[in-house]
């Protein structure tokens, strides 16, 4: 089977540490559930990601070089 997460078009997905997450949530003044969602069965997710984790996605952007997006893992 092809490992999609290694494909060049799939940006880097990493699980966010709890303390970094607190900072992010504080920065935007939001709850975890206000984040965009990502399905647990999404093949781009790292294996250790579990429901309730927050994923940091760093993707290349035509206009800003790198764009950072956070997503909450849901079932």
């Amino acid at each position: 089977m092809v490992d999609v997460s290694q494909h060049e078009l799939v940006p880097e997905h990493t699980v966010l540490d709890e303390d970094v997450l607190e900072e992010v949530l504080a920065e935007y003044d939001i709850d975890r559930t206000d984040l965009p969602k990502i399905k647990r069965n999404d093949s781009a997710l790292p294996d250790e990601a579990e429901i309730g984790d927050v994923i940091k996605i760093v993707r290349d952007s035509r206009t800003t070089d790198q764009a950072v997006v956070y997503r909450l893992v849901v079932e």
Partner: protein
């Protein structure tokens, strides 16, 4: 006028209403179906009871004492003789019937399952998901239970017959059980099934033999366990479906017993809504203000559709009660009950599938409650989201090149109707008095005045002089629109924000709105009968906002692609092309005439002295007068030459579409971004006037002779066409002889088609090339095509060379008769002519058959556009509805109304396309910007100070304010 303080809505709760609540809020019980008595007075406790509110002016409301207009009306109620189902909740009722026990009414889920679904619901609420998904799953789970986990009662299936009938489906012993058993015991020799004797059956089913015989004779009905045993032994089905209708009263009793904690598992708030309230026992009667009756010219009263429906309900309700008291048979009662249900159903929704709609005497379906809300003309889309407004005008538009692009010509009769409120102070008192004394007929006049005590007086021809003297500071005067007022101007369809822009008024005679032709592209307007709307703004805040944000000059750059959407169009581009292409010379008079409509009133140094010792000015130098003095630009232009501008002087190049045109003209774009909107507006206005002067100087026209080619050229074109026809014939011959080789991935037929298409399109191109050779560069069609003003070389080819292959669905024309396009051709004729190749040009004229093929191709284009506009319109509506609640926040994120983040940074980069100059071929040139900034900074310390301080761009409020601002700029401030 009394103003009530605006209030914030804290929260809104949706739920069911309790019957008792209907009674409490009711002003009166309605018992009779009659409306008015013989004298025309409303009957007490009738449908028009005066306690339900007032509609006739002058009368007093019996409930609240207010008059018509201020009294909102009051609900009444009807006590229904028997409960009926509310159509809006049929699905939920079905769900509850299926999910709860028929005996003890408890939800058919074990404690564990309940906990699970309760958790699911709280999580769904938190994540903003659809609760329906969870409750549906809960019901599905509950339906699986055959027996109630609490009381052990067997559960039956519930059938729902739309719209409002429910059945309980039970499997019971069929009446022909004895025959079926006997038939099965007979066996079937052909199928190889053996006979069964009663002894064997008795043995196998463990039923006594005497019982078996009794069953076989039909004198004993087998019990359920016995039935199952027989079914198993003989492999037959002895049951039939028995449906048992659930009356609304049964359902109500059933629902009353559902415990509160059970419905909470299904996401229903038991504090506010009890399921039995979905079965109506009391019907609220809407106030008369919601269903006013109209008095016709002949004095007859015509009632609202809702009133008609209520009359039906009350009549049936009464008949029901009478029949029940008289002890009528059950059958009649049930019929009446069904009829009552029908009337209550159609009272709420008259477009239910499966029920005939209730009709008016004339056969028109009644417009009942749900029809009032639904659809484009319904309450939501028609009355709340969109409203009819005052202070608006609509008329035909026509062009006026003498206006600035910021302006709009407003007909005087419109200006006299639409007013602006003027708060009279000591400083404008004189003006205000002048307006009032001019009266409503004279322009600039006034239509109304309001005294400080709030009384509004109409200004008339008779009283205007007297009224003018009374006007003092503190009054309000509704004066006519005058030059310089700001108004909003709009053309439908409003597809982007440039479809609604603010313009400054110029009052003009005649009946059309006038606008500068350069604003046609953003509105997508032309003058073939287009109409546009104008809205006069009614408060200072709106006027200020319109001026600063919405004025045409603020919209020069389009947020779609970040380049200018306003610029020179059509003849302007031909004009600048003629002015700059061969860099012609002009004498002083000519040069001054070219620049007469611009700000330039003195010519620069002559470009040179000609042979007759007269000074001359070149087209480049005349054009350069319009450019900012320090503009530097270099790029490849429309015509393919390099356009070089140094220090505001056009040194080289032709000015055409890519230089000054709409949709990204380089010079306009740069001026807007570097020198600001105001400078850009001036530039576009002046380019368009200069171009008009230039095109008038040279003269520009087009006629059929301009596209006629010499006979010698025509012969050559005919030759190429004949050649192409020959080659097509060769191809067909090769195909018919089976010598044609197919291209990879194509059938032979497809290959032939492709090759023919290729040959013919080459033929047309060749014809075009030949025709082109005979057109000079000053041919008007060539000028227009080269400059990008209008038309292309293809149009020219079709006019002078050959029109070429006509296509429907991207193929040669194949449709028509059996194996041929027209009866003029033989069947299976594959030639060019028979499949829509037009070898004539538009100038030489098409043959009838060519004309027909051409019309076929043209029709497809028309149909495509029609389909595309309707499809894209609906797509846009859905997109707008999906995105309308997204908002970019001060922290740069984009969030929806529930504060969920959609983008962490607007568009990933947090920039507006209008404020940044980058595209596919030019990235943001940071170096150049930094250089430019530093260059200007290091000139003096003061300037650097200005840069690091907060020097803001001057908000240019009006074109007529330019002079004042220019003067003010030189005055240093006091502090």
């Amino acid at each position: 006028m009394q103003h009530s303080t605006p209030k914030d809505i804290g929260s809104i709760n949706f739920g069911l209403m309790e019957p008792e609540e209907y009674r409490e809020m009711s002003a009166t019980k309605i018992i009779t179906a009659d409306t008015y008595d013989d004298d025309g007075f409303p009957i007490d406790m009738g449908l028009m009871d005066p306690r339900l509110g007032v509609i006739d002016p002058g009368l007093e409301c019996k409930t609240c004492g207010k008059h018509s207009g201020s009294c909102n009306g009051h609900f009444g109620h009807i006590e229904l003789a028997a409960p009926v189902i509310h159509v809006g909740f049929t699905k939920l009722i079905r769900r509850l019937l299926r999910g709860t026990c028929r005996e003890c009414s408890r939800l058919l889920l074990t404690e564990d399952e309940r906990d699970e679904f309760r958790d699911d619901i709280t999580e769904s609420r938190k994540l903003g998901r659809d609760l329906n998904d969870v409750t549906k799953a809960a019901i599905r789970q509950a339906r699986k239970k055959d027996r109630c986990p609490f009381c052990g009662e067997i559960q039956y299936d519930i059938d729902h017959e739309k719209p409002t009938t429910y059945y309980e489906v039970q499997q019971v012993l069929t009446s022909e059980y004895s025959q079926r058993i006997a038939a099965a015991m007979q066996g079937d020799e052909e199928e190889g099934i053996e006979r069964t004797s009663p002894d064997e059956l008795a043995e196998e089913t463990e039923i006594e033999l005497t019982r078996v015989n009794e069953i076989l004779s039909g004198s004993f009905r087998p019990r359920e366990s016995q039935r199952k045993a027989i079914e198993k032994a003989l492999d037959i089905d002895l049951t039939e479906e028995d449906t048992n209708k659930l009356m609304p009263s049964d359902i109500r009793d059933w629902f009353e017993n559902i415990p509160d904690e059970d419905i909470e598992v299904l996401g229903i708030d038991s504090d506010r809504s009890r399921p039995e309230w979905m079965i109506l026992t009391v019907l609220p009667v809407p106030p008369v203000t919601a269903r006013p009756s109209i008095t016709l010219d002949n004095g007859q009263r015509s009632e609202d559709d809702l009133t008609h429906k209520l009359v039906d309900i009350i009549r049936i309700n009464q008949r029901f009660m009478e029949n029940r008291e008289a002890g009528a048979p059950q059958l009649i009662i049930e019929d009446l009950w069904e009829l009552l249900q029908y009337h209550v159903t159609t009272f709420m929704d008259n477009e239910i599938s499966g029920t005939p709609p209730a009709r008016h005497r004339s056969g028109r379906p009644l417009k009942t409650l749900s029809q009032r809300l639904k659809g484009k003309e319904g309450r939501f889309r028609g009355s709340l989201s969109g409203k009819r407004v005052n202070f608006s005008a609509r008329t035909v538009i026509s062009p006026d090149p003498t206006l600035s692009l910021n302006e709009v010509g407003v007909p005087d009769r419109v200006a006299k109707e639409m007013t602006q409120t003027m708060n009279v102070t000591e400083r404008n008192l004189e003006d205000a008095r002048r307006f009032v004394s001019n009266g409503p007929e004279g322009h600039p006049g006034a239509n109304y005045v309001r005294r400080p005590d709030g009384r509004r007086l109409k200004v008339t021809e008779k009283n205007c002089e007297q009224l003018a003297e009374k006007v003092e500071a503190g009054w309000e005067v509704n004066r006519h629109l005058i030059d310089g007022d700001i108004v909003i101007f709009n053309r439908q369809p409003s597809l982007h924000r440039m479809s609604i822009m603010a313009h400054e008024v110029v009052v003009m005679p005649y009946k059309t709105f006038r606008l500068n032709t350069v604003v046609c592209p953003p509105y997508n307007a032309d003058f073939d009968g287009d109409e546009m709307n104008m809205h006069a703004l009614q408060n200072e805040e709106a006027r200020a906002e319109a001026r600063v944000l919405m004025r045409v000059q603020e919209q020069i750059l389009s947020p779609r692609f970040g380049e200018n959407i306003i610029g020179a169009i059509q003849d302007h581009i031909s004009g600048t092309y003629l002015l700059t292409h061969d860099n012609p010379r002009f004498n002083e008079t000519q040069a001054l005439d070219l620049l007469r409509a611009t700000r330039i009133d003195e010519l620069p140094e002559p470009s040179g002295i000609d042979d007759e010792d007269e000074p001359f000015w070149t087209g480049h130098d005349v054009f350069s007068e319009l450019l900012p003095d320090d503009l530097n630009l270099e790029f490849t232009g429309t015509v393919g030459d390099d356009v070089i501008i140094e220090d505001g002087q056009l040194l080289e190049g032709t000015i055409a579409e890519d230089e000054v045109g709409e949709f990204g003209g380089e010079i306009v774009d740069t001026i807007t971004k570097v020198y600001g909107n105001t400078r850009s507006r001036i530039f576009i206005n002046e380019v368009s006037t200069l171009a008009m002067r230039a095109i008038m100087h040279f003269g520009f026209s087009i006629g059929i002779d301009d596209e006629t080619i010499p006979a010698e050229a025509q012969d050559r074109i005919d030759e190429t066409i004949t050649d192409a026809n020959d080659r097509v014939e060769e191809l067909i011959e090769a195909y018919e002889n089976g010598e044609l080789e197919s291209l990879p991935g194509r059938t032979i037929d497809e290959t032939l088609e492709m090759k023919i298409m290729q040959t013919l399109s080459r033929a047309r191109d060749n014809a075009g090339t030949i025709a082109d050779e005979h057109f000079e560069d000053d041919n008007p069609a060539v000028v227009m095509a080269n400059s990008g003003a209008r038309g292309s070389m293809l149009n020219l080819t079709q006019m002078a060379g050959a029109v070429g292959q006509q296509a429907v669905r991207g193929e040669r024309i194949n449709r028509g008769y059996e194996d041929r396009t027209l009866s003029h051709y033989e069947q299976n004729d594959l030639s060019a002519e028979a499949h829509g190749f037009v070898e004539n040009s538009y100038t030489s004229g098409l043959t009838p058959r060519e004309f027909f093929f051409h019309a076929m191709g043209g029709r497809e284009g028309l149909v495509d556009t029609a389909v595309r506009t309707s499809k894209s319109g609906y797509l846009q509506r859905r997109l707008i509805n999906a995105l309308s609640e997204l908002e970019s926040q001060y922290d740069g994120t984009v969030r929806d109304t529930s504060d969920t983040i959609v983008q962490f940074e607007f568009g990933e980069d947090g920039t507006s396309p209008v404020k940044v100059s980058s595209g596919d071929d030019n990235d943001v040139d940071v170096e150049a910007i930094a250089d430019r900034v530093l260059d200007s900074e290091f000139e003096s310390e003061a300037e650097r100070e200005e840069f690091f301080g907060t020097k803001r761009e001057v908000t240019n409020l009006s074109e007529h304010a330019d002079e004042r601002l220019a003067e003010g700029a030189e005055v240093t401030s006091d502090d």
